[in-house]
Amino acid sequence: MLCENCGKRPATFHFTKIVNGQKTEMHLCEECAREKGELLPMSKDAFSIHHLLSGMMHDLSQRPAASSGERLSCPSCGWTYEDLIQTSRFGCSECYDTFRAQLRPIFRRLHGSEAHTGKVPRRGEERLSKRRKIEALKKELEQKIAEEAFEEAAKLRDKLRALEKEA
């Protein structure tokens, strides 16, 4: 059998490709196979982290839950969901908020988790604890109002205002 590409040299490489259930056969000589990149069907960077990741993200994007993100784009940097899938990279820190819902399955699959439990920036920690205090105060305030304990509620409200100003 002669190579079906050049028709000159004997075909020594025989490929069967199945793409979307369509079977195609190819018979090529070594030279043409190399030229067509068929000899090494996987390009050199096929196993690079971004390549693998983008493949995985593409799979996830086919799921119904992810499709809601299709038309999203980041208001800060203009990065689209498509960009995120293609590059498996974020455009800016706000992308994390823009695509938050779509990211959850990705983080679960990558890390087995979607919540950070490690280091927090020191100044962030202060902010975080203030915010948590504010939330706790708000709850307490609501309860006092429900109990019609207005005097205590007023004190709590002042405390809350002061904290919110600081934060």
């Binding site: 800060s76 203009g78 820190s93 950070h116 280091k119 920036p121």
Partner: protein
């Protein structure tokens, strides 16, 4: 201090002192990935954004506390391609940073600290320690992170942690790596079983030299894969636990090989030493294989009068970039093989 100092010494002063378990562990590295809030990430950065990152770092430099070593900044665009290649060979910068004209590297004079600016993330700070020392390396990297954070707002999310350019680093942004010399496991053909086992517990293993699974010189790097959901302490504990087991397996393999192969192993090691002492042309791959044999010979007590430190330095000085920098000119592959053989001959005479 100019960049030349870093290019003429193959072994970092920080790695010269032997560390814990240094018969198997060559070095430990912690890398923290951080980004500056409000500045677009790598793929959306403009030139002025890149300048802003350098500026933010330079501003932090003016408030450096005493317990953070002095750091010197070098811009990529001021360094020739060959100089960048040598820095890659010394693992001080990544191959990625090498291509970034707007990038920079910041080094401490003993090379214990290397901060890459405008790589995949705005800031990638690395700390190197000799032998196995994950907690020591992390302590210093976290200290440097605290210092930078005094003047820089990191992109941080209360749920997801440190925001990085790639989701594989989100959370702690930490990659902890241990570089190990595993000639015993390679020779005993046990490495093939070990690699998939390590990968099952959320860690990765890769050969440090050479492409793909072929690890030239038996040097492997084990690092954490997961960065989200575990604290830094938990990640380091997991890694240390696995590394300790690999150390034990490697030591057992070496003893087993010594007993079962006897003179055949000794012969192989001395043939390698002979090759390094007398060959006239050596490829990088062969030189690494032979050096690995000789280093094993030193640890098994076959070879005396040669220090592991000296061999570790040769590991770097025979790399293509380093050879050419030392020669002061570019060398083609054939000339490099000859220069490599000459260097080894002189060093091991």
């Amino acid at each position: 201090m100019g960049i030349e100092t870093f290019l003429t010494r193959p072994l970092a002063p920080a790695l010269e002192r032997g560390g814990r378990d240094d018969d198997v562990v060559m070095s430990t590295r912690i890398r923290l990935a951080r980004n500056i809030d409000g500045v677009p990430f790598e793929l959306k950065m403009s030139d002025s954004d890149q300048k802003a990152v350098l500026k933010a770092f330079e501003h932090a430099q003016t408030r450096r506390p005493n317990d953070v070593p002095e750091l010197i900044l070098f811009r990529m665009r001021d360094l020739s391609p060959l100089v960048r290649a040598v820095l890659v060979e010394k693992h001080l910068i990544s191959p990625d940073l090498m291509e970034k004209e707007g990038g920079a590297v910041v080094l401490s004079d003993d090379e214990m600290v290397s901060v890459m600016l405008n790589e995949e993330d705005h800031v990638r700070l690395q700390v190197f320690r000799p032998g196995l020392d994950l907690s020591g390396a992390y302590a210093l990297s976290s200290r440097i992170d605290d210092w930078l954070e005094e003047t820089i707002d990191w992109a941080f999310d209360e749920t997801l942690g440190y925001k990085t350019s790639c989701p594989t680093n989100t959370g702690t942004g930490m990659r902890a790596s241990v570089m190990m010399h595993l000639p015993g496991l390679v020779m005993a053909k046990r490495i093939q079983a070990l690699i998939p086992a390590i990968q099952k517990v959320g860690l990765t293993v890769r050969g440090v030299y050479g492409e793909g699974s072929e690890a030239e010189g038996g040097v492997f790097q084990i690092s954490n894969q997961v960065t989200l959901g575990l604290s830094e302490g938990e990640i380091l504990e997991n890694l240390e636990g696995i590394v300790r087991q690999v150390i034990e397996h490697e030591r057992m393999s070496r003893e087993m090989l010594k007993q079962s192969l006897g003179v055949a192993l000794e012969d192989r090691i001395f043939r390698s030493l002979g090759t390094l002492r007398y060959a006239r042309s050596l490829s990088s791959k062969e030189a690494l294989t032979r050096l690995s044999d000789v280093l094993l010979g030193v640890y098994l007590g076959y070879i005396e009068g040669l220090s592991a430190k000296k061999l570790s330095a040769l590991w770097v000085s025979i790399r293509p970039g380093f050879l050419q920098y030392t020669a002061g000119k570019s060398l083609d592959a054939g000339a490099r093989d000859m220069a490599r053989a000459r260097l080894l001959r002189e060093a091991l005479r």
